[in-house]
Amino acid sequence: METEKKPFTNRTEILKTLEKILVPWLDDKTKPNEQTNLLSDLGLDSVAILQLVLGIEKEFSVTIKDSELDSDVFSKLANLIDVIEGKLK
């Protein structure tokens, strides 16, 4: 049975939801945008990446395979949004 997907119609909405998932790794000053590097700007480590991916899968009702993930995906928030957008189409 296909799980019901939330109506994320554009990148801005995806970014807004990602912002909520990323709250634990944001300090008071950081406002993420599509150019934010999750590895160098936010300092996400392997454990944080696993938690983030679980959060994305839950919030967007999608499944992301390890074969779809590498450091390029997390080097720009835009790349991660591309992956999610591709899943929601």
Binding site: V47, A48, S71, F74
Partner: protein
């Protein structure tokens, strides 16, 4: 012989060979040596000599190698620290290890100086290499270093768990590390030269011994990865750099075993993957050996206090049971003892004890504890295991309270102390709960104080102070912590409560 001499010898033999490739640059053995000597010259002028403790707080990079060997070159003690530490954690550890000088990156230096304040007599020096491998030394704060003459023979200090309580600082000499490394190298009997993929943090004793010291002495090439581990990145690096060897902890092995399309990469260069840090599940090991039959997956077991490697499932053609971590390395003796210290026969479960030339000098500033760890030359590992009649060692569990999360060691006491700094927390206990990929994740039990706090408040409080793998995944509030006797928390009971609650939540 110093650790630095391993580099010096290889640079003399293979000056033009690539030593390290990282995100910023690629340097040869000749360049690595000249940069190391340049930094060492500065460190000597700043008073670094035997008995002075110098911390290296750098990510996996060519700069890490320069820092590590430069400290050794001036005879000082290398204090290996995680570059993932928060400044709060780093400042605490620096004070506890009595560090005089910190080698780090510019961004970390700013925050660390602020956290340490003006009172501490600690120098901070930044190092970076540009894309041509030119070394730039930045003197941030310079003060006169302290000399610890009792420990002037210590080459390396690393933190570990011991059996209980807060992390301990293990002291190892050049002889202990080099003798263990040469035995390991002889057993592995590598085809050379190798290209080594370094994804494990280089402050880990496993990475220091099985990767840095071993392969520097072979004149091999390192691919230093300063980013979280992605299995796809690893496969790409194997293909692009013709990687021949790497070291994995179980969660990396699980990612490799689960990968759906490994055939899209050329992995033919890859010859060895050593497995350590914790026990790799049997089904994962079998899946890997079936799917990648040209790669040797080698189980090994070690600990900081033993100068690193203790047992290994090598060399071929001998066969080792899948569940075992191999046999004792040459010159290493293993025995199993019961609670009274009596030696147990084969197939009986008890504490693993080890005797070898690699066994550590002791814990820094804890002579009594160190004395209790080594009895008649036998190191009490705190790990539980058994030997079979062939001498193969099997790990059964840990006597320690340590939690292993994705290959990182977590010491409950450290998180508990952080929690107790929160005025809303009266008492706290940390336990590990099972996780499919990371093996274990920390979970907190909190006895609330007078003011209210939520699970999110507690987690956010920890996030600001602790590395992300140490932040409790779950917080349970409890009226009273169950105790064993008067002072010891009953962690077994807490684990049962947590597992019950999580089952109900599901």
């Amino acid at each position: 012989m110093k650790l630095f001499d391993l580099l010096k010898r290889s640079a003399a033999k293979f000056p033009g060979r690539t030593a390290v490739i990282d995100d910023a640059c690629e340097i040869t053995y000749a360049k690595l040596l000249s940069n190391t000597e340049q930094l060492s010259k500065y460190l000597k002028s700043a008073g670094c000599r035997p008995g002075v403790k110098v911390a290296v707080v750098l990510p996996n990079s060519s700069a890490y190698f320069v820092g590590f060997f430069a400290i050794s070159a001036c005879g000082a003690t290398i204090v290996a620290m995680s570059s993932k530490m928060t400044v709060y954690e780093a400042a605490g550890f620096i004070k506890r290890a009595d560090v005089s000088l910190v080698l780090t990156e510019k961004t970390f230096a700013d925050n660390l100086a602020e956290q340490l304040g003006n009172k501490e007599q600690i120098s901070i020096v930044t190092i970076e290499q540009n894309s041509d491998g030119v070394l730039k030394i930045g003197i941030f704060i310079q003060r006169c270093p302290k000399v610890d003459s009792d420990n002037s023979d210590v080459a390396l200090m690393v933190y570990t768990s011991g059996t209980t309580g807060q992390s301990k600082i293990v002291m190892l000499t050049d002889d202990q590390l080099i003798s263990n490394m040469f035995i390991y190298k002889a057993v592995m009997d590598f085809e050379m030269p190798n290209v080594v993929y370094c994804s494990l943090p280089l402050h880990h004793i496993y990475a220091i011994c099985a990767q840095v010291l071993t392969h520097i002495s072979c004149g091999d090439t390192f691919i230093a990865m300063n980013r979280p581990f992605f299995i796809k990145d690893f496969f790409k690096a194997v293909q692009n750099h013709k990687v021949t060897i790497t070291a994995f902890v179980p969660y990396m092995a699980i990612l490799m075993a689960e990968y759906s399309q490994p055939n899209q990469f050329d992995l033919s260069s890859l010859k060895y993957i050593t497995l350590s840090g914790a026990k790799t599940p049997k089904h994962v090991y079998q899946k890997l050996t079936n799917a990648f039959d040209h790669i040797k997956f080698i189980n090994t077991y070690g600990m900081s206090e033993a100068g690193s490697r203790i047992s290994i499932a090598a060399p071929e053609p001998a066969e080792f049971p899948v569940e075992s971590v191999g046999k004792a390395m040459p010159s290493v003796a293993i025995r199993i003892t019961d609670n009274r210290g009596e030696v147990l026969p084969a197939k009986h479960i008890g504490q693993i004890e080890v005797k070898s030339s690699g066994v550590f000098k002791g814990y820094f500033n804890q002579p009594k504890l160190s004395k209790g760890m080594i009895v008649s030359g036998w190191l009490k590992t705190g790990d539980i295991g058994k030997l079979d009649t062939q001498g193969n060692l099997y790990l059964v569990g840990r006597k320690k309270e340590m939690i292993i999360c994705g290959g990182e060691n977590i010491f409950p006491a450290e998180i508990e102390e952080t929690l107790l700094e929160n005025p809303s927390v009266r008492e706290a206990a940390i336990i590990g709960i099972p996780d499919d990929r990371l093996e274990e994740v920390p979970c907190a039990f909190v006895v609330p104080g007078d003011s209210f706090c939520s699970e999110t408040d507690i987690i956010n409080f920890c996030r600001k102070r602790l590395s992300s793998f140490k932040v409790p995944r779950k917080v349970f509030f409890i009226e009273q912590l169950p105790m064993l006797g008067t002072s010891k928390i009953n962690r077994r009971k807490l684990k049962d409560i947590a597992l019950d609650k999580l089952r109900i939540d599901k």
